[in-house]
């Protein structure tokens, strides 16, 4: 019973958690906002006072800003496309009855448990190394010139690495969605004269639309802030400098906290624009 008394007790009990969460969110946010209006160079004179919107203007007018935005969106978009398409295909494959289903499913999920730093290092050194990498051996086996992945096809490489990490997540969510499809619907469609491809587009895909929406939303939120994969592979070179990475460089490499903070505020705005945009497109799906 939610009496007056029990409600106030509940509020009291919840207070620590609420305060903690608020602090967790508000302190960094206010500090970012605070520094973004200051000229603050820790190694070159420290706090040099208020500068208004100077940092904001400098961050955007820098020649690396728009390429960074573009790199971010390319990575997010590329990974989303690959994980959703391959995820749907893999989920349908895993849904088929087969021998050793349990083991195969666990194997498919495995990449998700590998830390981003580790997986990027493994890819960089074991697969993509132009001299000793497995891919280089494979290329040579077929008589081709090995590709130096991370310098020549840097964007593709990073998209590959990140997709490999996120594919299990997409597959898992889509697999549970596929399993909830009533098999009588497919049989009805079969009797209605729909060949396999039509059954996929008219029955399976609409059934998955909600799960795909969820995969896209969650992945976008995480992909906007990928960092480790870029840090250990290209270090932001060869056109792979994302917004997150640019902010990192401004703060730690150029030791310009004010400028970095302004970049952080832009990142928050970008993330929100993307989120609103996505909600608009796919929100309808969630209502239905």
């Amino acid at each position: 019973m939610a009496t007056q008394h029990s409600r106030s007790v509940a509020r009291l009990m919840m207070a620590p958690a609420v305060v903690l969460l608020l602090g967790w969110m508000l302190v960094p946010l206010t500090m970012t906002l605070y520094f973004s209006f200051k000229k603050y160079l820790p190694l070159r004179g420290g706090d040099l006072g208020w500068v208004g919107f100077d940092n904001y203007i400098r961050f955007v007018s820098s020649s690396s800003f728009w390429p960074a935005v573009q790199a971010t969106l390319t990575i997010v978009g590329g990974v989303l496309i690959i994980t959703v398409i391959l995820g749907v295909l893999l989920a349908m494959l895993l849904d088929q009855p087969m021998w050793g289903q349990g083991v195969v499913r666990i194997l498919v999920i495995a990449p998700f448990f590998v830390m981003p730093t580790v997986s990027a290092l493994v890819w960089k050194n074991m697969f993509m190394d132009p001299v000793n990498g497995l891919l280089a051996h494979l290329w040579r086996f077929f008589g081709a010139e090995p590709v130096s992945w991370l310098s020549e096809a840097s964007m593709t490489s990073i998209i590959m690495i990140v997709s490999w990490q996120w594919l299990p997540f997409a597959t898992l969510i889509l697999l549970t969605a596929i399993q909830s499809l009533d098999s009588e619907q497919l049989e009805a469609a079969e009797m209605d004269g729909a060949p396999p491809l039509k059954r996929f587009f008219h029955i399976i895909l609409p059934h998955l639309s909600r799960a795909i929406t969820i995969v896209i939303l969650i992945q976008t939120i995480f992909l906007l802030s990928i960092f480790a994969e870029i840090f250990v592979t290209t270090g932001g070179a060869f056109g792979t400098r994302t917004l997150t990475y640019l902010i990192f460089q401004r703060v730690l490499e150029s030791q310009n906290v004010g400028l970095g903070s302004a970049g952080g505020v832009y990142a928050i705005i970008l993330a929100n624009i993307v989120a609103i945009f996505l909600m608009r497109i796919v929100g309808k799906n969630l209502d239905a």
Binding site: E187, A189, G193, S209
Partner: protein, 334 residues
């Protein structure tokens, strides 16, 4: 056209043979009902006819042509599933139009047929709703609509009314019967409700463990059940079976007498017993009579006005001309 012929069809799932060799002919335009206890293979048989399951051996002919290896879509049959299996993301209109779109009919023809089916089934007001916004009976009608627009050679129904409440069931039963009268298309209907079977069927097929026990018109099965299983399965309440001395008097191992063929009297009769439970339905009264010395319980159906109660001693007289006689193997003796 829709004459379906099964020739020594069998079906096994792994090592388990669910349907032993089975022969059956369903004539064009006939309303055939498969009845039988749960798990006897009714759905399996229907799915074999539909082509959703492959038969293990034997052959299926549709309109004289071998359809054994013809895929479901090409058999010209339409199926109504127990769960309706409507497409939840499509409107009613799109659901009904789906088979026509798959058949690549032109839009004007599709619209015409959908409107036609909708008006037959009273769905015109709901065409732009989604299945989730319909009641059970309306969903059922959409499923039927999706089946009739294709103008199939035969309809297959798998327990289509079992998810509906009793009142709606009676209504839908009539609607399906009317539809059959109007379309005169072959219909195969699976149910375990014997009232549905008796009221709708031209021909009833009684199944037990994949074996056809008897095929015949409802009245055939009611009047001359071929064996004990059919005798007990058709008719409600169930036929009374009496063994021993009383049966021997009729030269049989077991005799069967339907509850409606026993007369009840306060004072005199061939048998006597004590009423344990009386069920008053208004129009009829069912008495469950104990201590007759014949069987555990004898069920009797009497007029609704007859008012015996628990503990009353009553007298029973069976109608001699409708006593069914069975031998030791359970087969009917004429």
């Amino acid at each position: 056209m829709g004459r379906i012929q099964l020739k020594s069809v069998t079906k096994s799932f792994g090592d388990v043979q669910v349907i032993p060799p089975l022969d059956l002919t369903i004539e064009d335009g006939e309303f055939t009902v498969f009845v039988g206890p749960s798990g006897c293979g009714k759905s399996t048989l229907l799915r074999l006819i539909a082509g959703l399951e492959d038969i293990t051996s034997g052959s299926i002919d549709i309109d004289g042509a071998d359809a054994t290896d013809v895929p479901p879509a090409k058999r010209g049959l339409a199926m109504v599933f127990q769960s309706y299996a409507l497409y939840p993301h499509m409107t009613v209109r799109k659901n009904i139009a789906f088979p026509l779109r798959m058949a690549k009919l032109d839009q004007a023809e599709i619209d015409k047929r959908v409107e036609g089916a909708a008006s037959v089934l009273n769905l015109t007001d709901y065409l732009d709703r989604r299945p989730g916004q319909l009641s059970g009976g309306q969903r059922q009608r959409v499923a039927i609509g999706r089946a009739i627009v294709r103008e199939p050679a035969a309809f297959l129904f798998d327990e289509p009314l079992s998810n509906l409440d009793a009142a709606l069931r009676v209504g839908m039963r009539l609607e399906i019967s009317e539809l059959h009268e109007r379309l005169a298309t072959t219909m195969i209907y699976v149910t375990h409700d014997q009232v549905e079977a008796m009221t709708m069927a031209d021909k009833i097929v009684v199944l037990q463990a994949g074996v056809i026990e008897q095929v015949g018109s409802p009245l055939d099965l009611y009047r001359t059940p071929r064996n004990l299983f059919v005798a007990g399965f058709i008719g409600s309440p169930k036929m009374n079976f009496i063994e021993g001395e009383e049966a021997a008097k009729h030269g049989a191992h077991t005799i069967g007498i339907r509850p409606e063929h026993i007369a009840v009297s306060e004072s005199q009769g061939d048998w006597s017993g004590v009423v344990s439970v009386s069920e008053h339905l208004g129009s009829d009264t069912f008495f469950h009579v104990h201590e007759t010395g014949l069987a555990e319980t004898i069920t009797v159906r009497a007029d609704g006005e007859v008012g015996f109660r628990h503990g009353d001693r009553i007298h029973l007289t069976p109608r001699a001309d409708v006593i069914h006689k069975f031998d030791a193997k359970g087969l009917r003796i004429e």
